[in-house]
């Protein structure tokens, strides 16, 4: 008789979307396997078939309520490729600006709203206080900074795109409207405050890191590849460039890869227990081709950020480990450095003499039957790949999202944390929170636009091999 037991954590709280975690115990009650299940199904790749390609950016933006701008940009870039156009230089800058505003608001959401309770109150804090109110009581200025920084990003998106969520300003060939003087000046005026918040939050974070030595050592701290788009000069970018892979030692494993040829080097595997596909680096096979994307990966693959303050912080970040920064706990730190970079870089872009130019869109009919668009979303590299027919109707689409590319690493991270913190057949609140916190470090976005309000209760079940519930804990 199989004596193994399973602990189920369902749903996982304070992440974007719905998932559950199962921990599989051996005969002695030790964790022997862990799985991170994504339990929602979307089907965007299928139901867009037959739609005109020009609708794709707006359709694809609906994938997510937190990072619609990334889908807009990647989708519009795929459409640019279908039209075989080079977009006007000002449109290029405005898209970059738009993308970075979203990075700021999304990273702020992840750090301040979702993870700061763990970071400020500790992993063993009373779960009923691990929320924004708990942060407010302990450090009100941190909570206010989080609100302001997210608002900063949201307001830029609204000024450029017309609304905060699901803006449709990015279109095939560029953007639909030029930037006005009024909006440029208003955004510029808000940058010093955002910069000050970014700087003091990084200082705060560096000050508390020492408290999390054990978590740093056990939160996804293992060798993998890291992948991201870099500029020609090896600098940080969220919009355009070539793919670079570095290995765990920090050495470049592959460089100058064309994002449009992603299928040459990225494979995807479907597991029967999750709707989330697992991406892997083909030359290393599955699962050895495990790689990570997102803030941690980006800072591991770049040579520089390209702005003064962010580069100072990057230099410190690279000192964290003599190799690539391997622990997924460092995603938080990387996220903050990226916020700083984006705020600095947005200021530079807004000062550019071309930024108010009225020519912001190239018009063309389809000139190619296949196109790929890639960009760096807040959570990592995003690919949109479309095939159309002679009428310009979508015949096939494939999306590779950041969270899928981190899937193997997230599963392995849960296992590492569970092995370290879970003992016996019961979960302590601290162990449970750490299992969830390592997932939060990746900031997975499980298509938050399908969220169900008010269903963030936490349910733990201990199941016997036959499915009998041996123990259950429910908290809200």
């Amino acid at each position: 008789m199989d004596e193994r037991k399973t602990i189920v954590i369902d749903p996982v709280t304070r992440i974007e979307g719905h998932s559950k975690i199962t921990l599989h115990l051996d005969d002695q009650g030790h964790v022997e396997d862990a799985r991170f299940h994504v339990t929602q199904f979307r089907g965007f790749e299928k139901f867009c078939e037959g739609r005109p390609f020009s609708e794709m950016p707006s359709l694809m933006a609906r994938i997510c309520g937190i990072c619609p701008v990334s889908h807009l940009i990647a989708s519009a870039k795929a459409c640019d490729a279908l039209m075989a156009v080079r977009i006007p230089p000002t449109a290029d800058k405005l898209r970059r600006l738009f993308g970075m505003a979203q990075v700021v608001q999304s990273h702020a959401l992840s750090l301040f709203h979702l993870s700061s309770p763990d970071l400020l109150l500790g992993m063993d804090a009373d779960p009923s206080k691990s929320n924004l109110f708990g942060v407010l009581e302990q450090n009100p200025s941190l909570a206010r900074d989080g609100i302001r920084l997210r608002q900063f990003g949201q307001q830029i998106i609204e000024r450029l795109g017309g609304k905060r969520i699901h803006p449709a300003w990015v279109v095939p060939g560029g953007v639909s409207e030029p930037l006005t003087v009024e909006n440029r000046d208003a955004i510029l005026e808000s940058i010093p405050e955002a910069l000050a918040i970014a700087v003091r939050t990084i200082e705060w974070f560096k000050g508390i890191m020492e408290r999390f030595r054990e978590e740093i050592a056990t939160f996804g701290n293992f060798p993998t590849l890291f992948m991201g788009i870099v500029k020609e000069d090896g600098g940080l970018t969220f919009y355009d460039g070539k793919i670079r892979m570095v290995d765990a030692s920090g050495k470049i494993a592959a460089d100058g890869l064309d994002p449009a040829r992603y299928s040459d080097y990225i494979g995807e595997k479907v597991e029967s227990w999750s709707y989330l596909k697992s991406a892997y680096y083909k030359p290393n096979g599955f699962p050895d081709g495990i790689y990570r994307v997102g803030p941690l990966a980006r800072l591991n693959v770049v040579d520089r950020c390209g702005t003064a303050r962010a580069d100072q912080e990057l230099a410190e970040f690279h000192e964290l480990q003599r190799t690539a920064a391997l622990s997924s706990f460092h995603y938080h730190h990387a996220r903050l450095i990226e916020i700083l970079y984006c705020v600095e870089r947005m200021g530079h872009l807004l000062e550019h003499p071309e930024i108010l130019d009225k020519h912001v869109r190239a018009i063309a009919r389809p000139n190619a039957l296949e196109g790929v668009g890639a960009a760096e979303a807040p959570r990592g590299t995003l690919f949109h790949h479309y095939k159309i027919d002679d009428q310009g109707l979508i015949r096939w689409a494939n999306l590779i999202i950041a969270t899928g590319q981190n899937n193997l690493a997230m599963n392995r991270s849960v296992l590492q944390v569970a092995k370290h913190y879970v003992h016996g057949d019961r979960l302590t609140p601290g162990a449970l929170n750490r299992v969830e916190a390592v997932i939060r470090a990746y900031d997975p976005c499980l298509s938050c636009s399908t969220h169900a309000s008010g269903r963030m209760a936490l349910q733990l079940q201990l199941l016997a091999p036959g499915g009998e519930v041996l123990d259950e804990v429910v908290s809200s």
Binding site: H113, L136, A143, I147, Q154, H166, S453, M456
Partner: protein, 174 residues
């Protein structure tokens, strides 16, 4: 600085759930006072606490599941005990957050319109489509009274027909 903030919210891809947005858009097209700020949004996210911090009064305009379509209710909102999260937000939760973050204590009114259909779709039911301009006119009337420092009377919790609100020349309201 706006003295009155009007927030219409809901999912415009869920039929009648978008009625709050429709009312707010109507208000935005009718109101030009710098003392009034109209916001149309998907949900009550935490950063709206910053937006309402200096307001004297906040109108929350939303769809409701219960009630007779074509009517609306207007209720005072009390501050809640829990702050809004990134995903789920209520007017009372947003007020709580604004209070804790900024010591802000604006008055608040919740204007709700019962809907009939919350399925996928971008159109409002006929009853709600008719109600939108009337509810907007009613809120506009309340706002004018507030800006002129006149007293307003609210019959908390009582469903009110849009027509009754429309014909009321005094701000006796719902």
């Amino acid at each position: 600085m706006a003295r009155i903030v009007m927030i219409g919210y809901g999912n415009r891809l869920r039929s009648d759930d978008g009625v709050g947005c429709a009312v707010a858009e109507k208000l935005a097209s009718r109101l030009s006072s710098p003392q009034v700020e109209v916001i149309v949004c998907h949900q009550l996210t935490p950063e709206l606490a910053d937006t309402i911090r200096d307001a004297e009064i906040v109108f929350f305009i939303d769809a409701a599941r219960q009630g007779v379509p074509g009517t609306f209710s207007c209720n005072r909102v009390s501050t809640g005990s829990r702050a809004n999260s990134s995903h789920s937000g209520s007017p009372s939760g947003l007020l709580a957050l604004a209070g804790r973050l900024y010591n802000a204590q604006p008055q608040a009114l919740s204007v709700t319109l019962p809907g009939t259909c919350f399925d996928h779709g971008e159109d409002l039911s006929p009853e709600l489509k008719d109600a939108v301009p009337r509810v907007a006119a009613y809120i506009e009337m309340l706002a004018a009274a507030i800006l002129e420092s006149r007293e307003i009377n609210l019959l908390d919790g009582q469903p009110t027909s849009s027509r009754a609100a429309e014909v009321s020349s005094e701000p006796s309201g719902c």
